[in-house]
């Protein structure tokens, strides 16, 4: 059984069909990379997997650990072990990052959080991400720089330890040092149980990861799947020559 299995997915936004006939499978412990030209529907795909209400599934199904989650509420998907690192995380005033993560962990695990151990773990992970401690008591993402927002996403991922983490351009807009720190965070998360689906324009974040598959999303479906070398091919010659190629 695959961890995530998407079958023949058709998705529309405001009556425009964005994805049509998309298939994708991710196994336990695997790292998959999703590439594609701008506007191909990469963000549509990951938002649909997470259950964003703006994206309407017209047909097809999404299974997570064999369970049909195509129409499951967003929070139930999170509880099942899905996580999305947002491209532009929302700012939510009035709730601190720390208390938000605590509430979130409490809900996702269904276990009461032990305060002292939690605090210690949070401090340690923030330290690893080179985040100053004061961010814990600041309102969720409010006034954070682009880089701090992305670190806040990775921090949440590390604290929630989901089964599948989807990173939507987590490395974009970051300087070299921040990319390195975020990449190290991702590497810490990855183990033989946890899986990743990474949307990126940058190979830096993949440097320390073993990539199991690379997919190219074009014309509403997966146009090509290959191994790591596909990334280099595309970096050299772009997506253009792929569009005529038959889907794999």
């Amino acid at each position: 059984m695959q961890l995530l299995e998407i079958k023949n997915l058709k998705v529309s936004v405001d009556d425009n069909v964005i994805l049509d006939g998309l298939n994708l499978s991710i196994g336990k412990g695997e790292v998959h990379v999703l590439l594609g030209p701008n506007g191909a529907g990469k963000s549509t795909l990951v938002n649909t997997i997470m259950g964003h209400p703006q994206y309407h599934v017209e047909s097809g199904s999404i299974y997570f650990e064999g369970k049909d989650i195509t129409h499951a509420p967003v929070n139930e998907r999170a509880k099942a072990g899905l996580f999305l690192s947002f491209q532009n995380p929302e700012e939510v005033p009035g709730i601190s990052l720390e208390s938000f993560i605590r509430t979130s962990r409490n809900t996702v695990t269904g276990q009461p959080v032990k305060l002292f151990a939690f605090k210690k773990e949070l401090r340690q992970k923030m330290d690893e991400l080179n985040m100053s401690e004061e961010y814990a008591s600041r309102y969720l993402n409010v006034g954070f720089s682009g880089g701090e927002k992305k670190k806040s996403e990775i921090l949440q991922m590390l604290m929630l330890n989901p089964k599948l983490a989807i990173l939507d351009e987590t490395d974009s807009g970051l300087d070299v040092d921040a990319v390195r720190i975020v990449s190290q965070g991702v590497e810490k998360y990855k183990n033989s149980d946890n899986s990743l689906l990474i949307i990126t324009h940058n190979t830096k974040i993949l440097e320390y990861l073993q990539v199991d598959a690379v997919h190219v999303l074009m014309d509403g479906k997966i146009a090509k799947t290959g191994d790591r070398t596909l990334i280099d091919q595309i970096n050299e010659s772009g997506f253009q020559h792929l569009s005529a190629a038959p889907a794999v």
Partner: protein, 472 residues
Amino acid sequence: MKTTGNKTYVEDIDRSVYDIKDKVDAAYQVAQGLTPEIVREISEAKNDPEWMREFRLKSLEIYNRLSLPNWGPSLEGLNMDNIVTYIRPNTAMRGNWKEVPDDIKNTFERLGIPEAERKSLAGVGAQYDSEVVYHNVREEVRRQGVIYTDMESALHDPVYGPMVKEHFMKLVPPEDHKFVALHGAVWSGGSFVYVPEGVQVEIPLQSYFRLNAPGAGQFEHTLIIVEKGASLHFIEGCSAPKYNVANLHAGCVELYVAENARLRYSTIENWSKNMYNLNTKRAVVEKGGTIEWVSGSFGSHVSYLYPMSILKGENSRMEFTGITFAGNGQSLDTGAKVVHAAPHTYSNINTKSISKDGGNCTYRSSVTVLPNANDCKSSVSCESLMLDDRSRSDTIPAMDIQNDNVDIGHEAKIGRISDEAIFYLMSRGISEDDAKAMIVTGFAEPIAKELPVEYAVEMNNLIKLEMEGSIG
């Protein structure tokens, strides 16, 4: 979460505790409406000194001369001919809680008033309909020379009577507007507070106003004098059970803050939704003094409420923090006014409003800087949150700046509860209801932390409770 069908819907605040009505057992009440005879009758019943009787009759003349405001929420449902302006409860004022009659006592017990006094207050006053039924101050506060009593006792006191005469409706004259003229004619009850020079009152005083009788008006007068270098925190709370006829609240608050004195005036207003709340509050602040307003408006059918601060002395300051929550059938027109009348004065107005289920919130403010007020600073920030597309929010800030050498800032934001934010929170396992509650609580948080703590906790609990369930 789906966008189709579901609307963000928040229930009304649970008012059950406020809505318990007592049997109306008045010792005495005047007839409905407003005539010189009724005003004389009130004055007689209250055994007013001569000057006060004249003041009342003069105010009535002014009331008859002035017209209703031609702006703001509709006052159509308010017919003065149907309002009973004076209802004396069936008891004299007590200084001992045990002596207050059982039904009145039970009402205040349900509202948690005596408990709050035992726990965290320096003194408590409780008004029931037109008269104050209970007043008590802690011994150590009394020993500091602090006077906290009902207005009638102060008016008849040989020492404080002249002080009342000197200050009563001098800051808010009856000519100001129609409802304050009405107040001048029929006022009854309220609190008088005097804090002598240099005295710091460490724990708050609280007055609680309860209007029980249907179709009645409450017109309490609050007069606070904080002398040089002294400080005080005063809290007022108001509530009433819901009736099908209009009730009217036209109180008046006058605050005198002397040199380097500090006064914090907190109000939690939770009138029932048949109440017209047309209240007037004003402070004058001398050199180096500070007035801080904290204002929570949750109840009433219609409110007009704009506490005003006159920064009269150099380096005087005002801070206004307010939150307004309007639900179905409510039009709450709230805000603040400030006049910078001296150099180096500072004002900061920070308000939030939440409207839902067809409720209307209007933020209205005015900032005036007089020509001589060099180098003053004013910042105004108002934010509104609308929880559905049937609710309404307006922002009407006015500024009259007559001096170039000033630093003035204004920021207004009107928003809806964002679907993206709900999605974000839900993607971390939080349910839709909890996500909405989190966003609304978070929106109110900067204000909630200024409220007296038991009110802040209650407000957050209410928001959480109201967010559960219902789909519109």
